[in-house]
């Protein structure tokens, strides 16, 4: 009995007509499915990559309010609604930043995120330092690195003063990938206030 079954299988396997037709159909079927699969998967990949946009695509100029609320010589917390947001974001689109009014029209606007791993830094006016609660990063008043694990100073936003209002170019969470190049701090005035000036 077993011998007969084995013999039949052998015949089926070896029979060139039977095998070639079925196998050909199967191969065509597989090819057909691969084509359809790729055709369907391509838009899925595009969909998944949707959030990735080129540098600055999410950024836009946004007002932090009249410059009077930032007294000269002081560093104050400012908040703004992120320009790119959805109605279901709740309070998460509320973003904070530190505004340092250096002189007349010269500002420094620092991201709230520590340059180490993004925790919110706090300003201590008495000692003139920013301190991070997570891993102990410390920065000087001009954003320069003072101590701890960060490898650079605080991230800064570009700013401009329009109609007596302070505007910054913001829109995405700063990380080393989008702010890695150390910009010259204090792009208007305050020569020598580099990140290392402590």
């Amino acid at each position: 009995m077993t011998d007969i079954v084995q013999e039949e299988q052998k015949i089926t396997r070896d029979d060139p007509r039977e095998v070639s037709r079925r196998w050909l159909l199967l191969k065509i079927g597989a090819f057909f499915n691969i084509v359809i699969g790729i055709a369907i998967a391509t838009p899925v990949v595009r969909y998944l990559l949707g959030p990735a946009r080129r540098q600055g695509a999410y950024d836009s100029w946004i007002s932090l309010g009249p410059i009077d609320q930032f007294p000269i010589g002081e560093t104050r917390l400012a908040t703004y609604s992120n320009p790119y947001s959805h109605p279901w974001d709740g309070a998460t689109d509320q973003t904070a930043c530190w505004v340092r009014h250096v002189s007349a029209n010269a500002f420094q606007v620092f991201a709230i995120n520590c340059a180490h791993l993004g925790c919110p830094v706090r300003w201590f006016p008495q000692s003139g330092l920013f301190m991070c609660p997570c891993h102990g990063g410390v920065y000087y008043a001009d954003g320069g690195r003072a101590s701890g694990p960060p490898e650079r100073g605080l991230f800064t936003y570009d700013y401009k003063v329009v109609n007596n209002e302070l505007h910054i170019d913001a829109g995405q969470m700063p990380t080393l990938s989008n702010q890695a190049s150390l910009r010259i701090l204090n792009n208007s005035g305050c020569k020598g206030c580099g990140p290392c000036a402590g």
Binding site: P51, R122, S177
Partner: protein, 510 residues
Amino acid sequence: MRWVKQTYDWFDRRLQLEEPIKKEVLHPVPKDTASWWYVFGSAAFTLLMLQIVTGILLALVYVPSAGEAWNSLNVLNHQLPLGWFLRAMHGWGSNFMVAVVLIHMGQVFLFGSYKYPRELTWILGVFLLLMTLGMAFTGQVLRFDQDSYWGLGIGASIVGRVPLIGGSLVQIMLGGPIIAGATLTRFFALHVFIIPGILLLFACLHVWMVLKLGINEWPMPGRIVRRATYVAEYEKLTHRDGIPFFPGAFWKDFFFSGAVIAAVAVCAAVFGPYGPSGVPNPSIIQTVPKPDFFFLWIYAVLSYLPPSLETPFILIAPILAIVLLLALPLFAGEGEKSWRRRPIAVLVLVTVAVLWGVFTNLGTYTPWSPKMNAWSSDTIPAQDLQNLRPVERQGAVVFQSKQCRNCHSIGGHGGQRGPALDSVATRLTEDQLIRQVVQGGGNMPAYGKNLSPPEVTALVQFLDTLHPPGQPSATDAAEAAAGITPSNYESVGSTSPEPGTSTTKKPDGK
């Protein structure tokens, strides 16, 4: 009761499940494996079932929206009857699951279970561990509070360090430019559909292989695993010295799983649910974010890495570790199984466990972080202020108001980022103190710009009073030898043997 038997037969004639199940549960296993050491795998599987059930129950109420998630968690905690208990069961179930999976892994490593022919069982197990940790992290994200928000920030900052494509990866991870609604929904999909789906599939395959390849026999020194002979030897062992898995070994699994679930329930009832902590509003910056227990060790490691090593370490070390774990059964698939003959394996396990314990312990009290409110909440001990001259008392005020306390402790209170200053005067001379304060160094910021000269003088004179009774302040030996008086101020010891009298500091080192 004949109708029960008839109904059963009616179903089994169609399902045909009795025979294969009976065959599996009654298969012989080596007698020694009916041990309390072999109960962790089944306990991990039981915990997975618990997590699935409690997770589904929580999903009946939870709203995966950045605007509403936090509120829905509070409704669960405070308004729905026993909603808090289910959250607590799910949270503690997660802790127990990570713990049991880690113990299970340590046990099978120690018992050499990953060797031939169980290599793939181990490799799947490594993925199961990674997915369990992935579930713990994404679960922490779904508890959408301040810790969750800033934890995502840390995750994004790590991903942002990937060369070239880091920026795009951050945007894909967050679902946009910032941590917001899109971030929560994609982590919801990961936590509820993607990871559990793969986890369940892999866990079933893992169990399938345990059934098919047999439970690893109790390792005996000298019983060497060889590819050519192992399977036959194992067969012989199970038939000569085997017992049916059910109930011979199963009853211990059964008991332990029950005990673990009971422990989860007791922890849930006693300690309650995790959070949610503060509302996830990133403009509220008065927060000290901290990861959940099983990620504290990473948190600690990240604070101790030198800045220059950090990016390579973060990006390379995890990949190396995972590759090493996956490759382990491929390069050590034969040989001794007994821990008595594998000293390096034992040493590795002990080292990893000790390192993990040390870093986790450090993570619980974060000595590297400035204590953000120490300057305004911790007072200087009264005895350190007695019999001080006005300028020294002024120095104590400078010490507090300039947030020195956030990093330096006195009397056991304050930050631990910098050294405790209770006896700083015995370590640094006056000149060294001035230099350290003004120029900083060794992880201390320079205060030269933020202290006026009188403030520096006052601060240093106060610091120079901080020494134990009977131990003099440090002086410059060279100046002392030359007979030069380095300063002409008087040091009135808080620790002076005769309170109220002032002693002039002599440059003789006494």
